[in-house]
Amino acid sequence: MITFENIFKSFGHNHVLRGVNLKVERGESMVIIGGSGTGKSVLIKTVLGLIQPDSGQILVDGQDITQVKRDAFLSRFGMLFQGGALFDSMPVWQNVAFRLQRGALKRPMAEAREIAIEKLRRVGLAPDVADRFPAELSGGMQKRVGLARAIAAEPEIIFFDEPTTGLDPIMSGVINELIREIVVEMGVTAVTITHDMTSVDTIADKVAMLHRGTIQWCGAHTDMAQSGDPHVDQFVNGHAEGPIETLR
């Protein structure tokens, strides 16, 4: 279980997170929605130590993340980055097997490659992709490789940061389906950041809406349509008019 307790984070005068409180239960697929620049990515990066919160506490399975051993802690996580964040200096299979080639999870090279090819197959990529470089792949293929890398070491918790950004609607649907399948199949805890409502409908068990640095609403995906919160209604229906201010 991941618990955010009163998380604050500012960048200069930009107060991004202003007291976020949120619980993600074990095995649950939580989707965090919210407009661009509302701090969704910042929130998940605080869990991984990529960004330090100014104040507040983050607990994973009851343990304060500042008190845990970093390597062992991070080995429990997988992450799909918005732009893929594939290492362009190495071929696809080495990207996927990165964690299996060094550190505590190190395997012989042939075995690591075998696992990488298996994971690539799981996300719908042919084995011949393994020896290509990330720059030779389309955006959709890069997302799949990123997904394969996120699941390669069989993590307990996976973060998906804007998994469908930059993809066409069909490819977005494919990636959403893949994420849902993988989350169910592996039984992992998943936290997805998105403002794509198709992703929400496919991936979410629960939905939390981040607005003005706090959780505006949180509930089951099935309750979202009847949330009664005007912010959620405006966001879900994509209305320009409503309590969420828009620049025109």
Binding site: A85, D88, R102
Partner: protein, 262 residues
């Protein structure tokens, strides 16, 4: 004190504080890099790859630069020495000039141009595209995986490159002196060998180590601390080369003072 004076003092004070702050951050970065040298894991593949890039692939540019500089130096010394009837000092001055100063400085500046810029651009791009964050999430410390192998490669490749530059520079002077200035080849070599001391060569190697370390460290520092987007990559690359070149020249002055004014 007039209001204008207060503004000037305030601006100066702010610049000084910013400079001290930047220096502090860089020193902390250098100390963090040093601490990783002694703590496992060690990424040997990354180290050898960096050694290839910093050392082996820098050989052509270092060699050519040293060759032409040594040749030009021989012509200048011959021309200058002739003014006070001492044109025969060419082998000695070429040797001492190349080994003590020009060899190390040319290598330092060439590495700054070739290696510092490429390291800064590569790391800044990795930062902009979240590859650095991805490394962290894959339980790999960027300082250990990216910085330490490159800096260690700079430290080791620097003296080797300087030795090559010194030798080729002296050879450039030898070619010009024997082919166009009528120097006797055997005497030229004997004069060169007799004039150089162990201290000259050791100072040259020490400078190579220092300059190789500075060049790679500055590339890593500016790359990992770059701003956002393509502009951030450009600014980091430019700043890294400027800082490395200035620091190399400053370090050269300090090392020369330490080695030759005692």
């Amino acid at each position: 004190m007039s209001a204008q004076m207060i503004l000037i003092v305030r601006a100066l004070g702010r610049s000084c504080i910013d400079a001290i702050f930047a220096l502090g951050r860089f020193v902390l970065f250098a100390l963090a890099t040093l601490s990783h040298v002694f703590r496992p894991p060690f990424y040997f593949r990354e180290f050898f790859s960096a050694l290839l890039n910093v050392g082996y692939l820098s050989l052509p540019v270092v060699g050519l630069t040293a060759l032409f500089t040594g040749a030009a130096l021989a012509l200048q010394i011959y021309s200058g020495g002739s003014r006070f009837n001492a044109p025969e000092v060419v082998p000695q001055i070429v040797a001492i000039g190349m080994v003590r100063e020009l060899g190390p400085v040319l290598v330092g500046l060439m590495i700054a141009a070739r290696v510092t810029s490429s390291i800064a651009a590569e790391m800044a791009t990795m930062k902009v595209t979240e590859q650095i964050d991805a490394l962290v999430t894959l339980s790999t410390a960027p300082m250990k995986y990216l910085v330490m192998p490159r800096v260690l490669a700079g430290l080791m490749a620097g003296p080797v490159l300087v030795a090559v530059a010194d030798s080729i520079g002296i050879f450039g002077g030898f070619i010009v002196a024997t082919q166009t200035l009528s120097f006797n080849p055997a005497n030229y070599i004997i004069n060169t060998m007799n004039f150089l001391t162990t201290a000259d060569i050791l100072s040259s190697m020490a400078k190579g180590m220092a300059f190789g370390t500075i060049a790679t460290l500055m590339g890593c520092y500016y790359g990992l601390n770059s701003g956002h987007g393509a502009q951030g990559v450009g600014v980091a690359t430019k700043a890294s080369v400027q800082a490395a070149a200035v620091l190399i020249l400053a370090a050269n002055f300090l090392l020369t003072a330490v080695f030759f004014t005692a």
